[in-house]
Subunit: 302 residues, 2 copies
């Protein structure tokens, strides 16, 4: 364990993955103020919204306004999710640094989420990646249900690897492997990464764990032992209510940062400022956020 | 990770360590019904109460009634905490199988908790252990603040080892190393166990983690990799409210069992019956228990 990475990159997905899983719609001005706070914490990557039809995710209908209102920091990549060509067009009207695309490793989840088979999804995403690249944008890929599907159960590792290879081959710069329903256990993560490293370079792999069953930090630990150095997280555990089948229990950025710093692993993030930004969005949500740090911190403030 | 233990023993401390950290006093009849349910889950060890003065822990003032009312299962060790000679006398009036004693690895916590220095504590505990042994009881030792003290901060590993050796030398059969305030991180657990194994046999060591900062299961994982096979936990995460400085955030037995079973490690415990017993005590507490399994389970029941 003494050979763990010395530095980890955390990609903050709270403003997108967090808010899209909260029922409350946050005012645009509050979102902007919050993202501006996040930009002061030392984070190097913030996924600020999603250019998806407001019918599906009304919480993020102000993506364009958010993009044009936040204060950009040099050294931070501001990214947005785009589900398709139309989303990409909208994103390209802003000065987004990177776009993210997504699909599932399991057929049923992909169909329920995107309304297409896995095979039908490839050409659509290929076109999005090509156009994004032509416009000089980097592209991130999210692969869902890597460790289990709410409809199919276990997902074969080889199937995960095949879809991963297709996404990387179409030009995706980084692939985030998601434990969408929070079922991954440490032994499974160990076995999955052992297989993946035989066929893919970890330089392009990030891990996206959910804490639905309390195992997210244990899974991060195993990933660190494999040499993974990029993790997604959502400040305060925003989006952490385990209600939506298929998207539950984001790992809290503050819990992740706390563990890493305690283990002597640098993130470049100021934990105190991160807590402040979590307290801010918590005050706008009108409910307690689930991160452990928030609870310890709330207590210490009482 | 393929060389992990195949079987783990879980020691259920909810009726003692859990309840003593909850504000609500549970009716004796409800406690008895609950412990009887726990006895049906496949657990092999239940710490059912503490023979401590009711002035200090009124929630456990019915220890004697509980002891005489619960239905004993063959194959289950029923244990109770005894703080001193007087507690031991009371415990010995019941047919307790094992008694547990406790002290801290840090001077200040020991003084605040026991009102004695570490050195002054040894002779008192020696007498308790001797008498318990004469009465044919096994003795468990709890060592608190192994990974950090709320008053002193870091606790030197060598100090932990010295106190551990003193406790084992006085005849303690098993020593439970406690992360009393839930600050241990995986690297620290790795380093601590690396040092401990040089001077002590792991056969007599159990780990007692708290999930205050979300790292309990990651710390269990590291301990498993070191070959530790006995862990304390509290069903539902009872006693898990992070309010009391010095005793916060019990690891939930159900979360621990879930992770171990998912990793193919046997515990002998029926997870479904364990959940039922957690739901039962939750209904008596009148508040939600913090375990992840309870939240997933509550959701699935909605």
């Amino acid at each position: 364990m003494e050979a763990l990475p010395k530095h980890v990159t955390i990609k903050e997905v709270g403003p997108r993955d967090g808010l899209q899983n909260e029922k409350v719609e946050i005012d645009t001005a509050d979102k902007v103020a919050w993202i501006n706070q996040l930009s002061e914490t030392g984070l190097s990557y913030i996924e600020f919204s999603s250019f998806v039809h407001p019918k599906w995710i009304p919480q993020l209908k102000d993506a364009k306004q958010v993009a044009s209102s936040i204060k950009r920091h040099p050294g931070i990549t501001y990214a947005a999710l785009v589900p398709n060509q139309k989303g990409l067009e909208a994103a390209l009207e802003t000065d987004v640094d990177e776009v993210s695309i997504f699909m599932s490793a399991s057929e049923t989840h992909n169909k329920k989420n995107i309304n297409k088979s896995i095979e039908e999804t490839y050409p659509i995403l290929t076109q999005v990646v090509e156009e994004a690249k032509q416009e000089g944008k980097t592209v991130r890929g999210y692969l869902s249900t890597v460790f289990g599907c709410p409809y199919e159960g276990a997902v074969p590792i080889q199937q995960v690897i095949e879809v991963s290879i297709r996404l990387l081959d179409m030009g995706v710069d980084e692939l985030s492997l998601g434990d969408t329903i929070g079922v991954a256990n440490p032994l499974q993560v160990d076995r999955t990464l052992t297989e993946i490293r035989k066929q893919l370079s970890f330089d392009q792999i990030a891990m996206h764990f959910h804490n639905t069953r309390g195992m997210a930090l244990a899974n991060v630990l195993v990933s660190l032992e494999h040499g993974i150095t990029t993790f997604d997280a959502s400040v305060g555990g925003l989006g952490g209510c385990p209600y939506a089948k298929g998207a539950s229990g984001n790992l809290a950025t503050d819990d992740l940062v706390h563990m890493l710093h305690e283990m002597g692993i640098e993130t470049g993030i100021n934990a105190e400022q991160l807590t402040q930004s979590a307290l801010y969005i918590q005050s706008k949500l009108g409910k307690s956020l689930p991160s452990h740090q928030m609870q310890v911190c709330n207590k210490e403030r009482v």
